[in-house]
Amino acid sequence: MSDAPTNAACPMNRTQVVDAYFMEHRARILDLAAFLDRVDRAGPGADDFRMQAFRAAVAILGDGRTERARRVLELLSDPSTEPIAKAGMKGATGAHDPKAGKA
């Protein structure tokens, strides 16, 4: 058996985490901002289900609560529980479409 610890809490303190990852995530939040700007510049129109989910996910980032990654993934997930009648495609869109895949 391994002598490695079962509990693997991050060895870095808060400052070390920020030092290590801030620049990388600064770039990513600018990517998010630029993406939203790009959608706006592309012209008028209503958000489809993906963009509605995206904007709700962005709100989770700033709500001050923990487990943001889990909650974003759950927000993007199909909430139904029964198998669908037939697979209409093989791929996935990245966000649940309330109009698709009724059981």
Binding site: A4, P5, T6, P11, M12, A69, L73, E74, A87, A92
Partner: protein
């Protein structure tokens, strides 16, 4: 040194084998996969199973990497149950091949009734033959629902021990679900659509290092066959003990896979190309 327990090498070239070997890969396991198009006949699967059990192990050995395989019809081709059952009927004929570890990667893709029927047919085969099981969970918005359906389906096969089933492609919303039911779980390191190396290490920090492994699931799509050593680097960057790095990238997969009685990560001297073939 590491094991990549889920990588589709039939889709990768020899440069990938070289990079993996240089990064410390000593053993891989290759689940049966969708080719990117539906095969036109069960005979296409017969040929694919030969590739996985005869040709690919020889190709990997040239780079000092031990190759093992899992057999099934992937859930992406399970929407036609008659066709799928014909393919499942071919599998027993390959179970005696020395690199076959079990049934996989079975599971669900779009969470349809036909996919569920074929998942259960595979589980019955694994239960009847006492085989290890490697389970694919659906992509993106279908993953959470599909994982729940899969865990419930496995529960209907009491002879299948949770300690001999690995549920793959877990993320932050499914890892605890899987671990709490006693299964093993795999995190797939993808550039866009699954876990990044950073998030995989986060999951280990949140849920512990028991019954968990990481894999690249490198295939014909946008993927990275040396993602596991990148996750090792991420763990070292954070200051995790070398014993923990080794545990989740070598010892854990070795422990799960060795239950097959056929897995080996022992050093392998690279073999010469077989010029007679």
């Amino acid at each position: 040194m590491y094991i990549d327990p889920h990588v589709h090498m039939v889709s990768r070239n020899t440069d990938d084998y070289v990079r993996m070997a240089r990064a410390g890969c000593v053993a891989i396991t290759e689940p049966s996969f969708w080719a990117g198009y539906d095969r036109s006949s069960p005979q296409g699967f017969f040929d694919y199973f030969r590739q996985l059990t005869e040709f690919e192990p020889r190709r990997a050995a040239q780079y000092g990497i031990r190759h093992h395989a899992w057999l099934c019809i992937n859930p992406k081709e399970a929407e036609d149950p008659v066709f799928a059952r014909e393919v499942i009927g071919l599998i027993p004929g390959f179970l005696e091949k020395q690199n076959v570890l079990g049934i996989g990667e079975i599971g669900l893709n779009k969470n349809s009734r036909n996919e569920l029927e074929i998942l259960e047919a595979h589980l019955q085969l694994a239960s009847d033959h006492g085989l290890l099981v490697l389970v694919h969970t659906p992509h993106l918005e279908d993953k959470l629902k599909g994982t729940r359906l899969i865990l419930d389906a496995i529960k209907r096969f009491p002879k299948l021990d949770a300690g001999r089933v690995l549920i793959d492609h877990v993320e932050e919303h499914t890892a605890k679900l899987v671990l709490d039911r006693g299964f093993w779980c795999g995190m797939t390191l993808y550039p866009d659509t699954k876990c990044t190396p950073q998030r995989a290490v986060d999951i280990i920090e949140c849920y512990g290092s028991e019954r968990i492994w990481m894999n690249s699931a490198g295939d014909w799509g946008h993927s990275d066959p040396i993602a596991v050593p990148k996750a090792q680097m991420e763990m070292r960057r954070r200051g995790h003990l070398e014993s923990l790095v080794r545990k989740v990238t070598f010892e854990n997969p070795e422990r799960f896979l060795s239950q097959s009685g056929r897995f080996s990560a022992a050093p392998l001297r690279p073999t010469a190309p077989d010029i007679t073939r």
